[in-house]
């Protein structure tokens, strides 16, 4: 039989002959958690991708309608468990905006430090594991060594390493100690060396560059139209960072740069993340130097914020106040309103659409997860690239399936 050398009419068609289907996941080392891709391939070239998600769906948003504002923080922790404190800060930021609570300067400062520690935490994982998936194990250990130190800092403040549940409406679970401040200062002193090691190991690694440069291109128009935020959007040239554009916590007073790139490929996304770590260090250094003293719970805002523990144990008013903020039939009423509030989480814009019916729990607590939006862009970023690029693009988006499925 003679060979037919004519080109197919439309190379992007998924119906032509000779294509094959490959199942990627749900259990695959590079998905890190549980997500599935159905790849349609022409040889090794990706023609189409169909993501299949929902393996980790656990009804978090439904639970948000049952638990009160303080209880639900334990659930938001488990969404993006790579940077749990960032979720807590975003959730209570929304609640406090709804209830109209102004935080104390000390709480603002502590939350800012934790938000930036979480950014370092998240970016180190994104970088370390993606390099591991691409075949280089060394940087992974350097990155995870530093992540352990951040876990220690979390443990010192909240008693928990992983799911800290540290924030409360209008305050924090505990005040931090001088010991904690020393730990953060020690981290700031030792981290730059490890950071330089990771940066050199990854960003100047020829194999890594060849695996990620000009792969998974996302144009600026596609990023805006597709709703991309955070490092993914900034790597495509969208100059937007909620820390600068809609400042919350202390960010208005601190000096930092918004890192952008115009390349839009995987390498640019990693590069933005790496440089953001340096900006986070700058922010923490400024914030820890000006850590004010004072109470952590907001006062004079009615009964929305919980009282300080010392007050609870030493005065009858404090005990009554504590009782009223815990008992469901005694809790203070919020406004009958709805509101969207977002913070810049390490992965992008993490927002909550909060509907309150006047009680102390949310009527609807919708999470806007950055992972979901970024993963919906994945098929369009993948078409035309090779099978081996799937892992690189997936890693550069930093998809966290628990946040994706909620």
């Amino acid at each position: 039989m003679p060979l037919d050398l004519t080109e197919p009419a439309d190379p992007s068609s998924t119906q032509r002959e000779g294509l094959w289907t490959l199942n990627f996941g749900p259990q695959h080392p590079a998905t890190h958690t549980t997500l599935r891709l159905i790849l349609t391939l022409d040889g090794e070239q990706v023609v189409d991708v169909e993501p299949d998600i929902g393996f980790l769906h656990s009804g978090f948003e439904k639970l948000g309608e049952v638990l009160d504002f303080n209880q639900y923080v334990t659930i938001v922790d488990r969404m993006n468990y790579i940077s749990p404190m960032a979720n807590e800060i975003a959730w209570h930021h929304a609640v406090e905006e709804m209830l109209g609570i102004e935080l104390t300067p000390r709480t603002k400062c502590i939350r800012t430090i934790f938000a930036e520690l979480m950014r370092i935490h998240d970016h180190l994982l994104c970088l370390g594991t993606c390099v591991l998936d691409l075949g280089g194990a060394t940087a992974f250990f350097y990155a995870f060594n530093e992540r352990e130190k951040i876990y220690d800092i979390c443990e010192r403040a909240s008693g928990q390493r992983f799911h800290t549940s540290y924030t409360r409406v209008g305050g924090l679970l505990y005040d931090v100690t001088d010991d904690w401040v020393r730990m953060v200062q020690e981290f700031l002193r030792t981290f730059p060396k490890a950071y330089a090691d990771v940066q050199k190991l990854v960003m100047k690694n020829r194999i890594f560059i060849e695996r990620t440069r000009d792969v998974g291109y996302l144009s600026k128009e596609a990023a805006i139209n597709g709703g991309a935020t955070g490092p993914v959007a900034r790597a495509s040239g969208v100059e937007r960072d909620l820390r600068r554009d809609e400042p919350y916590l202390l960010y208005d007073d601190l000096d930092f740069d918004v890192i952008c790139s115009t390349a839009g490929d995987c390498y640019a996304r990693f590069h933005v993340r790496v440089l953001e770590i340096a900006e986070s260090l700058k922010i923490i250094t400024q914030a820890i130097a000006r850590l004010p003293s004072g109470p952590v719970y907001a006062e004079g805002t009615g009964k929305e914020a919980m009282p300080d523990k010392r007050e609870v144990y030493q005065s009858i008013e404090g005990l009554i106040h504590h009782f009223e903020s815990i008992m469901p039939n005694r809790q203070p009423a919020g406004p009958k309103e709805e509101l969207y509030s977002a913070t810049e989480s390490p992965n992008g814009e993490l927002g909550y659409y909060l509907v309150s019916d006047g009680s102390y729990r949310a009527y609807r607590a919708r999470t806007r997860p950055p992972s979901l939006i970024h993963f919906s862009l994945f098929p369009s970023m993948m078409r035309g690239y090779m099978l081996s690029d799937v892992v690189a693009v997936l890693g550069s988006l930093n998809i966290i399936a628990a946040e994706l499925d909620r």
Binding site: M98, V355, S376
Partner: protein
């Protein structure tokens, strides 16, 4: 850069005289409600003529148990103008049995999965959506769990899974 109109509800009424538009604001966040027949046209006008180039949020709220609510489902569109950094929440309402809305995937690509999620959780159908099927729940699931009449404990879907023993497999 396109100028964002200050009075967004007057601006929308002038663009779409037939539409019923009301506006409100809470903690500095501006919101407009548009009636259902004009929602797609309003969103298109906001995208093309007012510079709202990003749809950052699309979700629904079930107002079944909400005190004083007149409509069952509220659909929330969150729009953002990258140039000016302004946000706008656009809302519309749908009621049973006619839970149908036109899709906005032709305006913003980000609506794709968010509309699928709303369909998955609330059962609201978006006509014209290229791939409207369940996103998070299994395809054989029959309920819409984020509706207020769905119990938090579920309706036994999980407990009634067929269990295969080692001997049967």
């Amino acid at each position: 850069m396109k100028e964002l109109p200050a009075e967004i509800d007057y601006w929308l009424r002038s663009k779409l005289p037939a539409a019923q538009v009301s506006s409100s604001s809470f903690r500095g966040q501006s919101r407009v409600c548009v009636d259902r027949p004009n929602i797609w046209e309003s969103l298109r006008a906001l995208r093309d003529d007012a510079g709202f180039d990003m749809l950052f949020e699309l979700t629904a709220v079930d107002y079944l148990e909400y005190e004083g609510a007149r409509d069952r489902f509220g659909i929330v569109y969150g729009l953002l103008s990258i140039d000016t950094g302004k946000r706008l929440i656009v809302k519309t309402f749908v009621n049973e049995p006619d839970l149908v809305l036109p899709t906005v995937t032709d305006l913003w690509k980000s609506a794709d999965w968010m509309e699928r999620e709303v369909y998955d959780m609330f059962g609201i159908v978006f006509t014209g959506h290229p791939n409207l099927k369940r996103l998070l729940l299994p395809t054989e699931f029959t309920s819409f769990p984020l509706r207020k009449d769905y119990p938090v404990k579920g309706r036994g879907e999980r407990h009634n899974f067929p269990i295969i023993t080692r001997a049967e497999s």
